[in-house]
């Protein structure tokens, strides 16, 4: 069965606002690119994240270096779905889904294909709690932030979610990727 994979940068204290985190260096960027290349053939976005990513990354003018080019090219080419009740149309191999994200992803997991990468922040609690997400890659940035958007906002998880650590990988920059999977 296809796996659903979440990968995100966050501070030591669980803050994820990209404005409050430094930009990843080449090594960390490469880690994310590798994840995106390994056995992924679909990205599932929330509406907000989709609008942050597109059309920005589809525009070659924004590909400033090799990593950007690889990333921009890859996510533009990949099939995508975006969960939204408001969007009318979307370009770049994107299908709009206005039904329940959990149901849709459970259905997609059963369909043939490679793994599914989720690009969303607001849907994390919902998807995690429903057991839709199989693998989690949290890349911990060596900063403490204290405010702004969090991985999980207060009260959005009905109960705590125990995960199983798969691996930890340290980068030269002191960022560290903590790779977990869903508890069986």
């Amino acid at each position: 069965m296809r796996k659903v994979i979440l990968a995100i940068n966050m501070s030591i204290d669980g803050c994820i606002g990209h404005m409050s985190l430094p930009a990843p260096d080449e090594e960390v960027g490469g880690y994310f690119n590798d994840l995106m290349h390994q056995d992924v053939d679909l990205i599932a976005y929330g509406r907000k994240m989709y609008e942050i990513m597109f059309p920005y990354w589809a525009d070659e003018a924004n590909w400033n270096d090799e990593l950007d080019t690889e990333f921009g090219q890859r996510i533009t080419d990949l099939d995508k779905i975006v969960f939204s009740r408001t969007l009318d149309s979307a370009e770049y191999n994107t299908r709009i889904v206005s039904t329940d994200p959990v149901e849709e992803l459970l259905k997609l997991k059963q369909a043939p294909g490679k793994n599914i990468y989720v690009g969303t922040v607001s849907m994390i609690p919902q998807l995690a709690q429903a057991g839709v997400i199989d693998e989690y890659h949290f890349v911990v940035v060596p900063v403490v932030v204290g405010g702004g958007p969090r991985l999980v906002e207060d009260g959005t998880l009905a109960e705590k979610l125990d995960l199983e650590l798969v691996a930890a990988r340290t980068f030269k920059s002191g960022w560290i990727a903590l790779h977990y999977k869903k508890r069986a």
């Binding site: 932030v145 204290g146 405010g147 959005t156 995960l163 930890a168 903590l178 977990y180």
Partner: protein
């Protein structure tokens, strides 16, 4: 000069209510006990102090825990302690009550001769981290997303705290110990 070491258990998403974590196993107790070898003063806020004592002092006295818990209990009970509180009247044993400003007191203690100082209190974190008093941060990340309860920080710091990863260690339980130093 003595180092101030801030040590805490934390969830993946930055929550620190230890009752929501899986109980510490042998390996984790051993880690905490080993880390305390270079410590000769433990600093607590009132609430954290009352969570820890007399509980651990009783375990140490009665040898009522597992081998690992007993060793931890003995170590943590044996270390001199300071508790910041305006309401506590008196405390037995090797603990001193301090009613003045934690930052001032810790600055003074840092200058005094001795081994390192451990601080394990959430409520003191923002204040002393911002004052640049913490030299090392020992986080043990538990493999759980909690999403509620007390967090390491409840609001933004005026400036994000930039740290440097010094060491990491993976435990069988799936906990990961991350050691950072001030950058």
């Amino acid at each position: 000069m003595r180092k101030i070491i801030y040590a805490i258990n934390i969830s993946i998403d930055g929550c620190v209510d230890h009752t929501r974590f899986t109980k510490a196993d042998e390996e984790l107790f051993d880690y905490f006990t080993t880390n305390m070898q270079d410590i000769d003063l433990g600093v607590y806020g009132r609430k954290m102090y009352e969570l820890m004592f007399p509980y651990w002092a009783d375990v140490a006295k009665n040898r009522s825990g597992t081998k690992w818990e007993n060793e931890f209990a003995q170590t943590i009970t044996g270390v001199d302690k300071v508790v910041f509180s305006r309401s506590l009247d008196s405390i037995e044993g090797n603990t001193r009550i301090v009613r003045t400003d934690p930052v001032q007191e810790l600055l003074k203690l840092k200058q005094a001769p001795g081994k390192n100082i451990s601080v394990d209190t959430v409520s003191l974190f923002a204040q002393i981290a911002q004052a640049g008093l913490i030299d090392e941060y020992h986080f043990v990340v538990h493999p759980v997303i909690v999403g509620q309860g007390t967090r390491l920080l409840d609001g933004s710091l005026p400036e994000r705290l930039q740290l440097k990863l010094a060491d990491s260690k993976v435990f069988k339980s799936g906990c990961v110990a991350l050691k950072y130093v001030k950058s």
